[in-house]
């Protein structure tokens, strides 16, 4: 017997079932279809403004830095300013997310390269799919628009987030994702990112920048 | 639940616990005093042990045999009270588990479990006692024994009663909810580890500055007292019931009988 058949039949023997019982199958189908939300966390239930404020507070609590701008048009300048303030070269790498594409990068002196990172970039910019207020978590989806490597290889990760994409909790975010990708459809990777990379593996001392970015900067577009 | 009316006082079967029975009867008499002061009629049926040592050593048969005796001895009372969270926890939480597959004993075990309580939580939670009269004076710290704390929720009740005694000052030690390392046969079978755990406990006790250490379980108390004495520490160790009942004439745990006389 194949390992697969063996394991499944062991499970069924232990449970005293054969796998084709209608009620069991129906229970499973129903749960997968309905995807119940379970316990709802009250802190995510606030108004749009409260959600945004909670997101900002929680992201900062996780040691991200946050700046809010009024419109998409202000993003390149805000990023240029962030790089200047941190004495970083005016150079970024990014994907071809249409929301980033339409921003007036030419108004700044930023030198821009495109596509995935080879590990030599100091700074990269990705556009977030969403933000989750309850823990200040960014939600990034993989693709050529926002290459996954840009979230992890640069020392300084910058994420652009539309305020309208901030959900109260994870469940609302999943609803939004299902709406975008279809039920059961998933981007190749969904990254939840809550603050910059860190490790406490040496003497329980928390240090930033273990393998991923030492710093995470979030630019929130309010308009 | 029976009411404490003049017509019929609450009949309490005191499960004195084997350790108190053998090692420190004064705790049993303190428990009797506290219960009688609260209006209970206390009886002590012939008894041995709750069976926990067998249960925790994996000897389910012996544990059941002993538990069956305990059920028979105590089921006629309105309540069963023990000056121990561990033994009360054994009856309350584990007797039903021991007999879950026995159609005759399961209901009897469940009934006994329901009316069995640790002494101090019985006084406070069931009888509604809010203060006791005790002449004890001193700075005390209270160790939360594991079974009482985690199986029965004994935490605030001893503190409530202690804080009402005029001569008592309660100071909390660090890590008061951490195990003292007793664990029944564990203290003997894994003596080295038990020693390491109790050493941390006595360090916390000493650092608290209290002159008396209290707890609600004699096993833990003997362990902590034995360690404090081996370390040459002068902290006195007593069961919380002795302090709540007052009028103490027994020397602290592990202290010479002559010293108190």
């Amino acid at each position: 017997m194949s390992a697969r058949a063996d394991i499944l039949s062991n499970i069924r023997r232990s449970m005293g079932v054969n796998g084709s019982e209608r009620p069991r199958v129906a229970t499973v189908e129903e749960r997968l279809e309905r995807a119940p939300r379970g316990v709802v966390v009250e802190r995510g239930r606030g108004s749009k403004e409260e959600r945004l404020a909670l997101f900002v507070a929680q992201a900062k609590g996780a040691l991200a830095t946050v700046v809010e701008v009024e419109s998409r048009a202000e993003v390149p300048a805000a990023i240029a300013a962030y790089l200047r303030e941190n004495n970083l070269p005016a150079r970024i790498r990014r994907g071809d997310d249409p929301r980033l594409e339409e921003m007036p990068w030419a108004d700044t002196a930023l030198e821009i390269s495109f596509g995935k990172s080879d590990g030599k970039d100091l700074t990269a910019v990705n556009h977030a799919f969403a933000g989750v207020a309850e823990t200040g978590t960014l939600v990034m989806t993989a693709g050529h628009e926002n290459p996954t490597t840009l979230n992890f290889l640069p020392d300084y990760a910058i994420a652009v987030l539309d305020a309208k994409d901030v959900t109260g909790d994870y469940e609302d975010m999943w609803s939004k994702l299902r709406f975008a990708y279809g039920k059961g459809g998933m981007p190749r990777v969904v990254n939840w990112i809550t603050g910059p990379s860190r490790s406490a593996d040496i003497e329980q001392t928390m240090l930033l920048g273990a393998h991923g970015p030492r710093s995470l900067h979030v630019v929130i577009v309010k308009g | 639940m029976p009411e404490n009316s003049a017509a019929r006082p609450i009949r309490v079967g005191l499960f004195v616990t084997c350790l108190v029975d053998l090692m420190r009867p004064s705790v049993g008499f303190a428990a009797v005093k506290l219960l009688e002061d609260a209006g209970c009629k206390v009886e002590v049926p012939e008894q041995t042990c709750c069976g926990q040592p067998a249960f925790n050593s994996g000897d389910r048969t012996a544990a059941r045999d002993i538990a069956e005796k305990t059920i028979a001895a105590f089921e006629r009372f309105d309540y069963v009270v023990a000056p121990s969270g561990s033994c009360a926890g054994q009856i309350r939480k584990h007797y039903p588990e021991l007999f879950h597959d026995d159609p005759n004993l399961a209901p009897r075990a469940a009934k006994l479990a329901e009316k069995t309580h640790e002494l101090v939580s019985f006084l406070v939670d069931v009888l509604g006692v809010t203060s006791v009269s005790s002449d004890f004076t001193g700075e005390v710290t209270y160790h939360d024994s594991c079974s009482g704390l985690r199986e029965l929720g004994v935490k605030s009740q001893p503190r409530l009663l202690l804080s009402g005694i005029p001569g008592v000052k309660l100071v909390e030690m660090n890590e008061n909810e951490v195990c003292c390392g007793f664990g029944g046969t564990f203290a003997v079978k894994y003596g080295d580890i038990s020693d390491s755990i109790v050493s941390k406990k006595t360090e916390n006790v000493t650092k608290s500055g209290a002159t008396t250490l209290l707890a609600g379980d004699l096993g833990c108390l003997m362990n902590m007292a034995g360690k404090l004495q081996r370390e040459g520490k002068t902290v006195e160790v007593r069961h919380v019931a002795e302090v709540l009942a007052g009028g103490i004439d027994a020397p602290p745990i592990g202290a010479p009988a002559e010293a108190a006389e």
Binding site: I7, I11, R12, M15, G16, R24, A35, V40, V41, E42, G95, G119, T135, A142, G143, P147, T149, L153, E171, W174, G184, M186, V189, N191, W192, T194, G195, P196, A200, D201, I202, Q204, L207, A210, H211 | V16, L22, G28, V44, T48, C49, P53, A54, N56, G58, D59, R60, I66, C146, R150, G183, F186, A187, V188, Y190, D195, I197, M222, R230, G254
Partner: protein
């Protein structure tokens, strides 16, 4: 290392650990940090206890339908272009991984932290097959240099201090300038980051574990703070996930419920830094990500735990809260347990995986203080499960003869109240007379495990029951 458990020598291991001053100092960190952080972050979430119930219920639901969810999960993985490999045993799992590595001609394999990898001793197998395995979690990397097993399931190097790490780096990173200052943890981190960055970029295969597998979407989830897992799985051509069968949950919502209690219970964070949901290999148009995505699904005795008194153990989400709160773990650390899984969860799981004849000490070395159960995010009744092991040992006559004899002797009297009163009445009076002057004994022949370390209080004299009876009869004892 994992092939040869030292669990049967638990007592010796423990003795060594207790005498290791450096280890004792390191364990002091566990005792304070993890506990305070968890308590603080749990207090900030009013729904925390309710979420623990929810997490328990989800896992119970999955276990009751495990066969069906595994089938759905496999279908979804296949749909997304990935491949599932089923492995009955550790050997089959190792072989599944090696077969993939050989096929793609792998030279270097990077690894995210995975307890399943430890369970199946994967690194040894990779090395034996002539490939290089590189652990990338900082703690795992450090212990790999030392050829040690993790001493904690989420903080593998928690038993070490910075000086030891520095000397390991100097020994293995031969390019290091001896004059370079590595005295601070931050300098050690920078050194590890530099070294491992090269490994990430050079790796042919990346292996990660999984915290959850999602039946609905065929997704695997990893949770890290460092980002090493993401670099491990994103940069090489091939990503292999190794996970045990009980990791599956129905939906994204179910995973989210459990994620809310995972980091809070583990590190005391509201959420770990990186929670990554991976579904299949690189897609058309993608500029990065692996070209192949494989999942090795391991049983290794788990299917046989279903329907037994140990089934609850399969709810475990490997957060480490039980060991963080365990007085025995605080005393001896993780290595004393002698195999992959330490602490209370290890005391239950290890005997199922290596046999109770080898792992029998572990469920006995517990005070049953219950603190592990009180913090377990999926409410596993750990003391009860340890007790079930003790019952099996007792039934199989595996408990030591002295213990059995002593217990039998005591039970004989405990079952006979009249005889008990007679015997104890005499014994206590005698013992009380012996101990009267000092009030205690510094040594007792039958309890040296006790009196080696602490005094034994002398009994007061006549037993309570004798005194009570005398009092009722109108006289004093």
């Amino acid at each position: 290392m994992t092939a040869h458990p030292t669990s049967p020598r638990f007592k010796d291991n423990a003795r060594q650990a207790l005498d290791d001053a450096q280890l004792q100092k390191a364990l002091g960190n566990v005792r304070v940090n993890f506990i305070e952080r968890r308590a603080a972050v749990a207090a900030k979430l009013p729904e925390f206890e309710e979420l623990r119930d929810s997490a328990r219920d989800i896992k119970d639901h999955v276990l009751a339908h495990l066969d069906l969810y595994l089938e759905r999960y496999e279908e979804a993985v296949t749909r997304s272009g990935g491949q599932v490999h089923w492995a009955r045993t550790a050997a089959e799992a190792r072989e599944a991984v090696l077969a993939i590595c050989r096929r793609v001609g792998a030279k270097t394999v990077t690894k995210g932290k995975s307890m399943i990898s430890e369970e199946i001793a994967l690194n040894d197998a990779i090395e034996a097959a002539g490939m290089k395995a590189v652990e990338t979690d900082l703690g795992e990397y450090i212990i790999q240099l030392r050829h040690e097993a993790p001493s904690h399931i989420i903080a593998p190097a928690v038993h070490l201090n910075a000086t030891q790490v520095e000397s390991d780096f100097r020994k293995h990173h031969t390019h290091l300038d001896p004059a370079r200052d590595l005295s601070q943890p931050t300098q050690l981190l920078t050194e590890a980051r530099t070294i491992l960055r090269e490994k990430f970029l050079a790796a042919d295969v990346g292996i990660t574990g999984a915290n959850f597998l999602i039946a609905e979407t065929g997704t695997s989830i990893i949770v890290t703070n460092e980002g090493n897992g993401d670099l491990t799985q994103t940069l090489p051509k091939v990503h292999i996930v190794i996970a045990s069968i009980e990791k599956v949950v129905p939906t994204l919502e179910d995973a989210s419920q459990i994620l809310r209690v995972l980091a809070r219970s583990a590190t005391g964070q509201e959420m770990s830094v990186y929670t990554t949901f991976s579904t299949g290999p690189r897609r058309p148009g993608d500029v990065d990500g692996p070209e192949e995505y494989h999942v090795v699904l391991l049983d290794n005795g788990r299917s046989a735990m279903l329907g037994t008194e140990f089934q609850d153990m399969l709810r475990c989400i490997r957060c480490g809260a039980c060991m963080n709160h365990c007085p025995v773990y605080h005393a001896v650390g993780g290595h004393a347990y002698g195999w992959v899984y330490p602490g209370p969860m290890g005391a239950v799981l290890t005997p199922t995986l290596i046999g109770v004849d080898k792992g029998g000490h572990l469920p006995n070395a517990s005070t049953f203080c219950g603190r592990c159960e009180s913090v377990c995010p999926v409410r596993i009744p750990l003391p009860k499960l340890m007790r079930h092991w003790r019952e099996r040992e007792f039934e199989r006559h595996l408990s030591p003869a002295t213990v059995r004899w002593g217990l039998g002797f005591w039970a004989f009297f405990a079952k006979r109240p009249k005889l008990y009163r007679l015997a104890t009445g005499l014994a206590m009076r005698a013992l009380a007379r012996l101990g009267r002057t000092k009030g205690r004994f510094a040594s007792l022949p039958f309890a040296s495990g006790w009196t080696d370390h602490r005094d034994f209080p002398a009994p007061q004299g006549a037993t309570f029951q004798d005194q009570w009876k005398a009092r009722r009869n109108g006289r004093t004892a």
